[in-house]
């Protein structure tokens, strides 16, 4: 007991020395570091809730003060305003996503001009570089990932695909569908976009109507969990697995279960937990030690295409980290 008590002042003294040393170089202790994460996806979205989980875990592990901010509905103008608000709080680092370069350029430039270290995640890799954002953490471009997926389908003899867009207005999803179409085109195939909303009943109704009026469609490709989950349920209920193939971008517990059961073809993993965790950790390192990674970090695309792979990832997905 006494020994432990004696350690406390020593530890406090040691912390004081450390803090003093950091202060001497104009650097901060981790607990004083403030980071704002201003992205276009709200944490009520299955995909972004995993990003936020990564952000929250990184905040806990580093001890820094981190805030996750996103517009209530997808709105780039609103996101730009939130970035401006974050800049006004003079944080040590800002994590952003760039779904619409034109709308966000002024705000992003303001952050860079203010001398705040900015890291770009999830979307807009080339656009970020043009605006002076030094680092991108995310998948290779959505379009590239889509091409790869389209080529896989084409190689498997699937040439006519319905691409389900559940977030009309988000350029990333446009590019996912465009990529699939262009990847299919290499094998002589094509895809058609079906616009749906984020409402599960709406997704199934519209896809049902589309499939009924397009008899030659061989596969349905969802562009995210919001459209994939209701479709898995719909396919199960109507027993459509023998008639159509189902693929999706992103992962979730339902998707992994379906792949593990040998029903779904594959899910594309962006490993978005890392998109939340890594930038926060890197920005804390930058503020406390002046360190910075020098190359963009690609967290995807990772094709989870066998029941074994899916089984392995499933538990993590339930815990909210995949």
């Amino acid at each position: 007991m006494f020994e432990r008590l004696r350690f406390v002042p020593a530890a406090i003294a040691a912390l004081g020395v450390l803090a003093g040393a950091a202060g001497a170089e104009g650097l901060k202790a981790a607990a004083d570091v403030k980071i704002a994460v201003v992205v276009h996806g709200n944490s009520s979205d299955a995909y972004w809730s995993v990003v936020k989980r990564g952000v929250d875990d990184a905040a806990r592990d580093t001890g820094a003060q981190v805030q996750y901010i996103a517009p209530q509905v997808f709105d780039s103008v609103e996101q730009a305003r939130l970035i401006m608000a974050a800049v006004a709080t003079a944080p040590d680092g800002i994590v952003i996503s760039i779904p619409d370069k034109d709308a966000l350029s002024t705000a992003v430039k303001a952050a860079v001009d203010a001398g705040i270290t900015v890291i770009n995640i999830d979307s807009g890799e080339p656009q970020g570089a043009e605006l002076g954002v030094p680092l991108y953490v995310g998948t290779t471009s959505e379009y590239e990932a889509g091409i790869k997926a389209g080529e896989r389908l084409g190689a498997a003899g699937i040439l006519l695909v319905a691409c389900i867009n559940h977030e009309v207005g988000n350029i990333s999803l446009d590019q996912r569908c465009q990529g699939i179409n262009d990847g299919l085109a290499k094998a002589g195939g094509a895809s058609e976009v079906v616009a749906v909303s984020q409402d599960p009943a709406d997704v199934t109704r519209r896809v049902e109507a589309f499939l009924a009026s397009h008899a030659d469609i061989q596969a349905v490709f969802a562009t995210g969990t919001a459209s994939a989950n209701p479709l898995i349920k719909y396919f199960d209920e109507q027993d459509l697995w023998s008639k159509y193939k189902l693929y999706t971008y992103d992962l979730g517990p339902e998707i992994l279960q379906s792949v593990a059961d040998g029903k779904m073809g594959f899910g594309i993993d962006g490993q978005q937990y890392l998109m939340g965790y890594l930038p926060v950790t890197l920005l804390v390192q930058n503020a406390t030690h002046g360190l910075m990674v020098q190359n963009n970090i690609y967290t995807g695309p990772l094709f989870v295409d066998t029941p074994e792979k899916a089984q392995a990832v499933k538990q993590l997905s339930k815990e909210g980290t995949r």
Binding site: D75, A88, D102, T106, A114
Partner: protein, 387 residues
């Protein structure tokens, strides 16, 4: 509730009658203090709510960032954009109608401008002019259908909400294959049109203040806040204009009359149908003004812009003391309502509250603001509780 409030549109004028009366000792003709008369104005309650909101956020963490020049600009521009809508929406609600299509109108107007500029190579002024022409048509149709069929405007404009949003997505996807229209401001022949909507005023003053070291400057010596954004200028212009029409013109009296009791109004010769149709046009035009400001600011148009703005505008008007039943309210109150909404929405972020809880706090603050407003008005008008 409606009985007390559907009386004279200008409660502040009422005491004039009392002063003329010779009877003393009767509470109905008693002199009222200057303060009571002030508090009886429809926007008094919201003013109390506004002050309360300012004070609450001043006491919460992050206040120094929120009330810094940069922080203030973020909530003022949000309030300005909402306020432009709220001024028009307030007039329409006072006249007894709703317009739920303005959010979709924002998206649609942006698409019209974007496509005309990028696809047909039109100059900005012509594209913006066309968007306003479309808005007049949309507003006219909303109004005409509501007035002629007597279907509640809530339903008619709900249909327009879907139709306009659907048209935005359908047309944009058909023409461009995408849902965003970028590069609208790359090489337009008339950049001065854009400056009318996205520039700043008093830039010289702000640069001077930057040189004096009063406000923060960037590495190149320019201030972080370049000036007062045009959206705020437009907000002031629109609010002043709408306020002047409502309080100083015959048309303003017609608006109150149409919302107070349309049958009586029609019987005394107020052209109720025409008033309502004009106000539907006004809301659509206000939505288009906001769309133009957003397009010029962002340089891009997007099919989902403006989603849910119709509700935010109605909330701002209601916080500002406009009664949903019509016939009562002011434009100034709606402007204060927009200010409260913008302050709350941005202020919550500055406090550092986990944003998973954002909507809970937004809902509570809106409810409290309206309750404070109602309480203050009830006290000032001398209502008894339970009436």
């Amino acid at each position: 509730m409606t009985d007390e409030t559907s009386g004279p549109p200008e409660p502040s004028r009422a005491p004039a009658v009392a002063r003329k009366s010779l009877m003393a000792g009767d509470e109905r003709v008693a002199q009222t203090s200057r303060f009571t008369r002030l508090m009886r104005r429809p926007e008094a309650g919201v003013l109390v709510g506004l002050v309360a909101t300012f004070v609450i956020f001043a006491l919460l963490p992050g206040a120094e960032s929120l009330y810094s020049l940069q922080g203030a600009m973020t909530f003022l521009t949000l309030s300005a954009e909402l306020g432009i809508l709220a001024a028009a929406v307030a007039l329409l609600i006072i006249a007894g109608e709703f317009d739920l299509s303005i959010g979709s109108m924002i998206g649609f107007a942006g698409i019209v401008i974007g496509l005309l500029v990028t696809r047909l190579g039109w100059p900005l002024w012509a594209a913006v002019g066309s968007a306003f022409a479309v808005a007049v048509l949309v507003g006219y149709l909303n109004g005409l259908i509501t007035v002629k069929t007597r279907v509640p405007s809530f339903i008619v404009t709900l249909a327009s909400l879907f139709i306009l949003r659907g048209l935005s997505i359908g047309i944009t996807r058909a023409v461009t294959g995408r849902t965003q229209i970028p590069y609208i401001l790359d090489n337009p022949p008339d950049p001065w049109t854009a400056a009318l909507f996205n520039g700043h005023v008093f830039t010289g003053l702000f640069q001077w203040m930057g040189r004096q070291g009063w406000i923060g400057v960037k590495g190149d010596g320019m201030p972080f806040v370049a000036g007062i954004p045009m959206s705020i200028v437009w907000w002031i212009v629109v609010t002043s204009l709408a306020g002047w029409v409502l309080t100083q013109t015959k048309f303003g009296n017609w608006i109150y009359a149409a919302g107070g009791d349309p049958v009586v109004a029609r019987n005394v010769g107020v052209p109720v149908a025409r008033v309502k149709i004009i106000l539907f046009i006004v809301t659509a035009v206000a939505a288009t003004l906001l769309a133009t400001i957003q397009v010029m600011e962002a340089g891009s148009a997007d099919t989902v812009r403006g989603t849910q703005k119709e509700f935010e505008a109605i909330i701002a008007a209601v916080i500002g003391g406009v009664l949903l039943t019509g016939g009562y309210g002011t434009v100034l109150g709606a402007a204060f309502g927009a200010l409260i909404f913008g302050l709350v929405q941005m202020g919550i972020f500055f406090t550092g509250i986990d944003t998973d809880w954002f909507k809970v706090f937004l809902g509570i603050v809106i409810l409290v603001a309206v309750l404070v407003n109602n309480f203050a008005r009830a006290r000032a008008l001398g209502e008894r509780s339970g009436s």
